[in-house]
Symmetry: C2
Subunit: 223 residues, 2 copies
């Protein structure tokens, strides 16, 4: 968010985005698609978690991925190997996805037929928090290498999410990160949030995460 922008312009941009996000949400609902927005700082492991999760999702459902990056297709290439359709959005200078970028994809057949769309936002702990995309659930990853003070320093994103996943927990013995304290800071901001502590490298905690994720997909399909 740029302080130099007139506050009026900013409010206008946010209001426009919120309206379009509502429209996206109606699209997803009409098609029975669960939309999940994954957000984190750069390098917290969004792509790794998606790669891993996609290999363990229940059969008989259709999945697709919307991949947001400033430039390049590195993450999309990784995720296509998991056998799902991946739509790359190159944001250029933009530091987050917005509802308009997502709206452009909504009439694609693969998206329309998906039971679940995983949206990987640009790596950024600030701006994505203020730009809903029409998603049903917001999932924030916090790598334990980033330090346990991050929820205090970037409160907006931790307040406005449904799930926080602590990632890279295999590194806990080697860094100074108090998991209980960090969990407490987050639940102070956001008492309803669910938290998971995982490592994609060792597999720890993935069962609990996958249980939640599968239940959400099934709940949405049966709704």
């Amino acid at each position: 968010m740029h302080e130099s922008s007139d506050e009026h312009i900013l409010e206008h941009i946010l209001a426009d985005n919120n309206e379009l996000a509502e429209h996206n949400r109606e699209h997803f609902d009409k098609n029975g698609t669960l939309a999940l927005n994954f957000m984190s700082a750069p390098g917290a492991g969004k792509t790794s978690l998606l790669e891993k999760s996609l290999t363990q999702m229940p059969k008989g459902y259709r999945y697709s991925v919307i991949e947001g990056d400033m430039v390049g297709e590195l993450d999309a290439l990784r995720l296509r190997k998991a056998g799902v359709e991946v739509f790359q959005i190159s944001t250029g200078r933009a530091c987050h996805l917005d509802a308009r970028m997502v709206a452009r994809l909504l009439h694609d057949k693969s998206i329309e037929q998906s039971d679940c769309v995983f949206i990987e936002n640009v790596g950024n702990l600030v701006c994505p928090a203020e730009f809903p995309l029409g998603e049903h659930k917001r999932i924030v990853l916090l790598s334990i290498t980033e330090g346990d003070d991050k929820p205090l320093k970037y409160p907006v994103i931790f307040r406005n999410c449904d799930v926080v996943v602590f990632t890279k927990c295999d590194l806990l013995p080697f860094v100074n990160f108090d998991l209980v304290a960090a969990d407490g800071y987050i639940k102070n901001l956001n008492p309803a949030v669910k938290t998971f502590a995982i490592s994609v490298t060792t597999g720890q905690g993935l069962d609990q995460w996958m249980r939640w994720l599968k239940a959400e997909v099934e709940k949405n399909r049966n709704a």
Copy 2:
């Protein structure tokens, strides 16, 4: 950067910022102050590197810190313990410092009398790259836990900097990070860049970093 903003408005904001950054630079130059802008993703270790560096800076010089955060004073409290004057800028919703926020501090006596001002930007690998503050050198930290593909995914900030510091190198044995490859990606984008590989925890690589930093402060004082 928000795509939804009119491109014209964006160019106007950037041009205004560049002009004010020039003005800030003239202030710093007139006072013989070296200004350094530290940028990185959240949790890459900017505050830890500053804490450590401040304890090892040559005596007989004056130092101060400008600390950018969305909310709170956690990092400022840490740095004040190093015995320097720390000026907190709370950016609120803004995802980066801009030249205007820094300009407001330039007539403070402590800043005017400093031989070196360390500016710690908001944790963000995108927007700070496009908002010069009047600094003489731009230093980007990349934690090796973030992955060696980050220079490819966030090229703007790695192209527009003078120094890259790979941090948390004590964790290299435990993560999949190719230091030579990452160094190559960065030098491809930015052949003149200097790189350092350090760990504040073990002290590895700090001698080389401190040699560079001290030389810059001394060079500026003798200029």
